[in-house]
Amino acid sequence: MNVAVCVKQIPDPAGELALDPSTHTLVREGKLILDDSDSYGVEMALQLVEAAGGGEVTLVSMAPNNETSGLRTALAMGAAKAVLISDEALAGSDALGTAKVLAAAVSRIQPDLVLAATESTDGYTGTTPVQLAELLGWPAVTFAKKVEVSPDSVTVQRQTEAGYDEVVSPLPAVVTVTAGVVEPRYPSFKGIMAARSKPVEELTVADLGLEASAVGAAGARQEVISVQAAEERKAGEIVTDEGDAHQRIVAYLEQIKVL
């Protein structure tokens, strides 16, 4: 069982996120980290390969400036190798442009299964993996909260409004995993050392045989008119509980006629 995991490398969400004032795209300077949302896919992939008794985990990432720090984290967790697509022509790519690049890379790797997160932390469009599946001509099962594989199929518990559906798909397929699916491991010291020498294949748009006009800002077809701070709610009254705070809550509920 060979599993490819789409991993996004993003600016640290704990820091200030900002848009470039002229291009209105996310500023991606400085060090990027592995999107926490994708650490679940990496862990799931490692467990599935282990359960299948053979195969390997390959990472696929599209990122600016040949950024590999996020990939190293995932390699340290145990992935065998990575494919990194980095190209100036990719600046400003939207989800569909990204999916085109990922699809071309996945076609080279030919895995049995592709895992991705239900949505990334910075862009959270949640559409990239499904667009990828359509471009590959594969089935997709989104919102997996449990994943099992057999040699030729994948069985998924897919979240629904009311509970979950049990979905079985033939391979190859794309599956998106939620954060509840597994507990990602912390890279061990040995893993971190080993990750340094694991292969990262770096590719450009031309290497993938894609037209620059189909990806990047040119493909995005969206004109940003303005960016403004959302209307803020104001903080109200803050009280410290001295044993009677519940009475304040009761009074408040009475005042708004909930009680």
Partner: protein
């Protein structure tokens, strides 16, 4: 704008609330509003869709054990081929809505505009408002490509309101065979038992977070919600931890709620949580950390321990009733 289509999910003849919200938006912008629906019960759903402003309902029929994404997208692509593209396709940001929009996007080679929380018309074109950076900023954008623009819209961005429309014209459309992309099949459906009002429709929502300390303490949240005839909700942290089912989750990847009052118990107030509840009319927060971000939006903030405040609050409300 001339024509707008809405992707209208329905179940047993009842359209989803977000579909009705999108119809309200669509009819304010376009003369002709179409609704694309599927599944058993679509015929019964048509009447409600018409009442809410759909003049034409395209019924793709039953998808059986297929996931809707690939085949419904193919049906819409075929419809566009036959009737021409509408100016816009409005899709609710739900599980299946996202799948259909993503598939259609790749098929038509059109982007999907996502996380939309508002729409307006400027110079005859739709301008979309997007919640970015966890809803802290609003970006306005215009789709510049060839129609249809595909707009993925968050629930509760518009108010659903019947328009008094009559019965719509109903047209059956075909669900094309999409081969390999339709390989995934639903083998079983599991529904959680629930009682009380729906989380996204309740007037009172009481939510618990990691500050509850353990799964057992969620009972306090449920009891308080029950006393107030409300629904219990949750942060993602405790959904991921397996304390409560995902259907309880409020926030960016969960439900958007706009109750009369939202009571957050042991929830820090991450942007991804707040984007789903800051539309509440009143917010009460209980958190032992006075610097918790949730206090920046609470109308009444109680710095205190949920394990002492909640039991007393429950007793006081019981006594009150």
């Amino acid at each position: 704008m001339d024509r707008i289509w809405v992707l209208a999910e329905q179940r047993d003849g009842e359209p989803s609330t977000v579909a009705l919200e999108l119809l309200a938006a669509a009819r304010s912008f376009a003369g002709t509003v179409g609704a694309v629906t599927w599944g058993s019960g679509a015929a019964e759903a048509a009447a409600t869709l018409g009442e809410h402003g759909a003049t034409k309902v395209y019924d793709a029929g039953d998808v059986g054990d297929s996931l809707p994404g690939p085949r419904v997208a193919a049906a819409i692509a075929a419809l566009i081929e036959a009737e021409g593209a509408p100016d816009a396709l409005l899709v609710g940001q739900t599980y299946d809505g996202r799948d259909v929009a993503g598939r259609l996007s790749a098929r038509l080679d059109r982007p999907v505009l996502t996380n939309i929380v508002g729409l307006s018309a400027e110079d005859g074109a739709l301008v979309s408002e997007h919640a970015i950076f966890g809803g802290t900023q609003v970006l306005k954008a215009r789709f510049t490509g060839e129609s249809p623009g595909i707009f993925l819209i968050r629930a509760k961005s518009f108010a659903a309101e019947p328009a008094g429309g009559g019965a719509p014209e109903v047209a059956s459309i075909e669900l094309p065979d999409t081969g390999a992309t339709d390989g995934a099949k639903v083998k079983g459906r599991h529904e959680e038992e629930r009682s009380g009002p729906q989380l996204d429709e309740a007037a009172v929502v009481v939510s618990g977070g990691r500050g509850l300390g353990s799964a057992e303490h969620y009972a306090l949240v449920e009891e308080l919600a029950g006393l107030l005839h409300g629904a219990p909700g949750a942060s993602r942290a405790i959904v991921d931890a397996g304390w409560v089912p995902y259907s309880h989750q409020v926030g960016q990847t969960g439900k958007t709620v706009k109750p009369t009052v939202y009571i957050a118990c042991g929830i820090s107030g991450a942007t991804q949580h707040m984007v789903g509840m800051k539309g509440a009319k009143n917010i009460i927060a209980i958190n032992k950390d006075e610097s918790a971000p949730i206090f920046t939006i609470a109308d009444l903030g109680v710095v205190g321990d949920v394990h002492t405040v909640l039991p007393k609050l429950i007793e006081a409300i019981k006594a009150h009733q």
